[in-house]
């Protein structure tokens, strides 16, 4: 049933069916999200600036999600020798890098008015900056080796080593004193964010994920085509 996740031919077939509805759905969710953000209330402390959150949090979520997907594909690619994993690794690394830079940039814009600084070297900000560098290195590695098999294995191992950064990013705000505030949504208790602000945030997160998914599908399809033609 989930064969399309590891088989390029089934992937192509499956994606061709869902692509058009997916694009329409994405547009609808994105427009709904932007409307909700526009009409969302101002924060009692931060005022209008809180709206940066609706860009910042979804980008951060996607930056981590993309890497998590690459990690899973690297494990099954190396362990079960599934070549499709390496296609996905190559296709989605730049997407993760773009969302990471979006997250860093919007966070910087948010930090200046709220904290009083564009950037500090606290654990959260530094670990996300490292994530961005890791993404860049993965993209560079994709252009590094002549031998495809060596290249793919090297990248997968590099992704696995870099994946140790993920829990560090997630828990940095709990383990160490940081300027960055702790998570609002994933607290075990009820989220410390009001429902009228949580709704637009969740819709925007879904919208960002769908946009990321569409770009990923296009990139994976292009990568499959390339390999068909050159192998």
């Amino acid at each position: 049933m989930f064969n399309f996740l590891i088989n390029p031919y089934k992937f192509n077939k499956f994606v061709d069916i869902i692509f058009k509805p997916l694009v329409i759905l994405t547009l609808l969710v994105l427009i709904a999200g932007l409307f909700l953000v526009y009409f969302s209330p101002l924060d009692y402390q931060q005022g209008l600036t809180v709206k940066i959150m609706y860009i910042h949090v979804p980008s951060a979520w996607l930056a981590l999600l993309t890497y998590a997907i690459m990690t899973i594909y690297s494990i099954i690619g190396l362990a079960f020798k599934i070549p499709f994993s390496f296609i996905i690794n190559k296709a989605i690394a730049p997407i993760g890098a773009v969302f990471t830079i979006l997250c860093l940039f919007s966070g910087s814009m948010w930090g200046k008015p709220m904290w009083g600084t564009w950037w500090v070297w606290d654990a959260r900000l530094t670990s996300v900056a490292i994530l961005f560098i890791v993404y860049l290195l993965i993209i560079f590695l994709n252009h590094a080796f002549e031998n495809r098999e060596v290249r793919e294995k090297t990248i997968a191992i590099f992704i696995l080593i870099g994946s140790i950064n993920l829990p560090i990013i997630k828990f940095s705000v709990d383990w160490w004193n940081t300027l960055h505030q702790p998570a609002s949504i994933s607290k075990l208790a009820s989220p410390s964010i009001d429902i009228s602000m949580l709704q637009p945030l969740l819709v925007m997160t879904v919208a960002f994920s769908l946009v990321g998914l569409i770009i990923a599908i296009l990139r994976i399809k292009a990568e499959i085509l390339m390999r068909k033609n050159y192998l």
Partner: protein, 146 residues
């Protein structure tokens, strides 16, 4: 056991070992990773004067004194110990009594610090301004919301 599961186990154990090694390093160098000390940690560690430090805590209620334009004096507290801060410069918008803050500066003596930078730390609570008014009207507003 098939070869592929041997490989899977090899990969997973390697990851766990690497992760454990890194976490051990990170937790043993905690002093270099924390962004700031709390006032109590600063007093415990007996850091000598002239050293650059960052201190985080809450701005003590009614401790902010404006000495002249852009020259301030206030206390940072963690509800156990407090540290007197001198600062010349512009304070961030969120900076006010009871608000979390991080300052960067050099130590003058045990509990006085000359700040060169002041950051406001905001918490993870988000709430529409209109709800705050409602809560205040009904006396439901809790102090920890600030």
């Amino acid at each position: 056991m098939s070869l592929r599961f041997q490989r899977l186990i090899l990969i997973l154990t390697t990851l766990v070992m690497l992760g454990a090694a890194l976490l051990l390093i990170l937790f043993n160098t905690k002093q270099n990773i924390v962004f700031f000390y709390t006032p109590s940690e600063l007093i415990e560690n007996k850091i000598t004067s002239g050293v650059k430090v960052r201190i985080g805590g809450y701005v003590k209620k009614s401790s902010i004194k404006k000495k002249s334009i852009n020259s301030y004096e206030f206390k940072i507290t963690d509800n156990k110990n407090e540290i007197l801060i001198f600062y010349n410069g512009i304070l961030p918008d969120l900076f006010r009594e009871g608000q979390g803050t991080v300052i960067e500066g050099s130590i003058i003596d045990q509990d006085t610090v000359n700040a060169s930078k002041v950051y406001a730390k905001h918490d993870e609570n988000y709430m529409p301004a209109s709800i705050k008014k409602e809560l205040e009207k009904n006396n439901q507003w809790k102090k920890e919301y600030k």
